[in-house]
């Protein structure tokens, strides 16, 4: 490697590269999903060009049949392929939940390890575009609550690429949640290394070091956590920000080491707060570090409501930078 020029690309391109690399490396990798082939290349253009390059037998446009899509992926995975299924928007996971939770997740266990399901379900998620209650949810907690599934939520293009390649070659089923608003927005573009740069599942990223409070997040909210850290730095509060990257497997060691140091933690995610991933993580921190904490772990998440349509209500549903700042301050009282 001689070049040091940064290559700033959006998450949509990074994901495309990941699938391109995986398909080039292993002919067992194939894609299936609604509208994913040319001339459309996916409704969000994430699979643009791939059907031209690899053929429509490997980049398969499907009917609107989520249960049949995931079922086909499960069967093909057991039979030795590495399917990457796209569910256009995360709320539609509900339509194929049986195939995901009763089959993809449990087959390895139920068969005593004889049959395994190495597949990826890619799905876009998140509020902020006034798509209403059925097109805006972050439902990662459903999958975390199902033993057998791995769960990945990238926060930037470089991670998205590295984590997706790892997910495709992972021996287990992976739910790969792509924050919809980050696909093409240049403010989230970043330097993405060329080639097969895998990022292992289960390895959190310390995005920013600090000593007073640890903010733990994933996906789009990592950026809000960093903004909150910037604001508080000006007030003399030093905030450490951890991007979990993957919820299963969870890098507890990194989280616990950080909170042992700062003695304060805030968990941030966009999903509904009640029974969200923050509830689990907060419990784990309390279980491990109870006597040493300077304050109870705080949670910042979506309101316990469906996602509303009206702009002002939608904004009020989604956790904002100011909410993170307020939560951090509440721990420092």
């Amino acid at each position: 490697m001689t070049t040091t020029e940064p290559r700033i690309i959006p998450m949509g391109v990074a994901l495309n590269e990941a699938m391109d690399i995986a398909m080039g490396l292993d002919e067992k990798v194939f894609l299936l999903g609604e509208d994913i082939a040319e001339p459309s290349g996916g409704v969000y253009k994430i699979t643009k060009g791939l059907s031209t390059k690899y053929g429509t037998h490997r980049v398969r446009k499907t009917p609107i049949s989520e249960a049949a899509i995931i079922g086909a992926a499960v069967g093909a995975a057991i039979a030795g392929y590495k399917p990457v299924a796209e569910i256009m928007i995360m709320d539609f996971i509900a339509v194929c939940l049986d195939q995901i939770t009763n089959h993809a997740a449990k087959i390895r266990y139920m068969s005593g390890g004889q049959t395994t399901v190495p597949m990826v379900i890619r799905t876009s998620a998140g509020a902020g575009r006034q798509f209403g209650a059925q097109h805006s949810e972050m439902l990662e907690a459903w999958a975390v609550h199902t033993p057998g599934l791995k769960v990945v939520v990238p926060s930037n293009p470089a991670d998205a690429k590295g984590l997706l390649i790892s997910s495709i070659f992972d021996p287990d089923p992976v739910l790969f949640v792509e924050p919809m608003l980050m696909y093409w927005d240049p403010q989230y573009a970043c330097d993405v290394p060329v080639g097969d740069n895998r990022i292992p599942l289960g390895k959190a990223n310390i995005v920013r070091e600090g000593k007073d409070v640890t903010v733990i997040s994933y996906g789009k909210q990592v950026h809000d956590a960093v903004k909150a850290a910037d604001i508080l730095a000006a007030e003399g509060v030093s905030v450490e920000v951890i991007d979990l990257r993957t919820l299963v497997p969870l890098d507890e060691a990194t989280v616990l080491a950080s909170v042992s140091k700062t003695k304060r933690a805030v968990v941030v995610h966009e999903a509904v707060t009640r029974c969200g991933f923050g509830a689990e993580l907060s419990s784990r921190i309390h279980e491990e570090l109870f006597g040493t904490l300077a304050a109870p772990v705080a949670r910042v998440g979506g309101q316990n409501t469906p996602v509303p349509y009206a702009k002002n209500l939608e904004t009020a549903f989604v956790p904002q930078v100011a909410d993170i700042v307020a939560a951090i301050k509440s721990l420092n009282k």
Binding site: E34, D35, P39, S40, V43, K61, T62, P63, I64, S65, E66, A67, A68, D91, F92, A94, V95, R129, Q130, F131, G132, A133, Q134, H135, Q303, N304, T305, P306, P308, Y309, A310, K311, N312, L313, A316, F317
Partner: protein
């Protein structure tokens, strides 16, 4: 040819009523698109333009207490069933005065007073729910019927197949209107569907299925009338496949690169709404003055609704927490 002439064609009043509904849909759609294009408003918008005759054709057979279930591309069904223009606009714009207080948005328009009971954004999901309305009417012993609208793409999802079978087994008073506009999002029907006509699928469930030219108002009126009469008489469900075309692709801003230009041009040249207008005049079913008066009235109604919606407040922030349960529940 705009429409068929049959001896048992609808009377003049019904013909004009159908035109009025079609024109209301077309005028409303045109206003939405022009305001979106000019940037006056911003929202996710699924144009129903091209599909007007289907909604008009079934709606004139319905009573206010009949139920309609529809989808995100539902503006034509909403208007045809009589959802009031002001509240409809206000909901699309996310205002507190909207049908759903601005909380549902265009994909979830609900106005029980008009019988527009469910609008869903999940493909196919309205079909089983429509059966529930049909079951309720059957249990209560009323002769209400339910019309459920969905696309060609939706006929490939499990909910369609389960719902059709249950409706047939239980002889539910439900009319399944598949508005076949030949595309599901960016995929042509031929690439996703194993049959040439969606109506063929009815046979598999033991219910009558018909394919009708959805752009022919009189043909649609006949097909809907027969199915609705059968349902009202307790003789069970029907699948109507109404063939049509979406003029503006899947949603506003769609580049439509997957739709052959010539195909779209031809469909738009055969625009069913002006064609029906001309047919009404040629056949002496209406006068120019009569139709012009209707059209002016609709423009005024849309003007009024736009002003009403634009001047309405956003929902208050407390509304975020209401309506999750009957009472605010922790």
């Amino acid at each position: 040819m705009a429409t068929t002439n049959r001896p048992d064609s609808p009377d003049r009043e019904t013909l004009v009523q159908m035109y009025e509904i079609q024109n209301k849909i077309k005028t409303t759609d045109e206003r939405f698109r022009s305001m979106l294009t000019s940037g006056q408003i911003q929202l996710i918008y699924y144009s129903p333009r091209g599909q007007e005759c289907i909604s008009a054709g079934y709606a004139v057979h319905l009573r206010p207490d009949d139920y309609v279930v529809t989808i995100y591309r539902g503006l034509h069904d909403h208007l045809a069933k009589g959802v009031p223009m002001r509240e409809l606009w206000a909901e699309f714009l996310g205002r507190s005065t909207g049908t759903c207080k601005g909380k549902g948005g265009p994909m979830h328009i609900t106005h029980p007073e008009s019988g527009l009971v469910v609008t869903t954004g999940i493909v196919g999901s309205g079909i089983p729910i429509a059966n529930g309305f049909g079951l309720a009417s059957q249990l209560a012993g009323t002769d209400q019927v339910t019309v459920v609208n969905f696309g060609d793409g939706a006929s490939n999802i499990g909910a369609f197949h389960e719902g059709m079978n249950m409706a047939a087994v239980w002889k539910l008073p439900v009319i399944f209107v598949c508005q076949n506009n030949l595309y599901g999002e960016h995929t042509p029907m031929s690439m996703s569907t194993g049959v040439e006509y969606i109506s063929e699928r009815a046979a598999a469930y033991g219910m009558p299925g018909v394919t009708v030219n959805g752009n022919d108002p009189v043909a649609m009126w006949h097909a809907a009338g027969e199915a609705i009469a059968r349902a009202r008489a307790g003789e069970g469900p029907t699948l109507i496949e109404a063939r049509t075309y979406r003029f503006y692709g899947h949603l506003m801003g769609d580049a439509m690169e997957y739709m052959p230009k010539e195909e779209r041009k031809a469909a738009m040249a055969a625009d069913p709404v002006p064609a029906f207008r001309a047919w009404l005049l040629e056949n002496g079913h209406a006068t120019e003055a009569q139709l012009a008066e209707i059209e002016d009235k609709i423009v005024a109604m849309v003007d009024d609704a736009v002003e009403f919606a634009m001047n309405s407040p956003e929902p208050s922030l407390d509304e975020l927490y209401t309506d999750v349960y009957e009472e605010i529940t922790k």
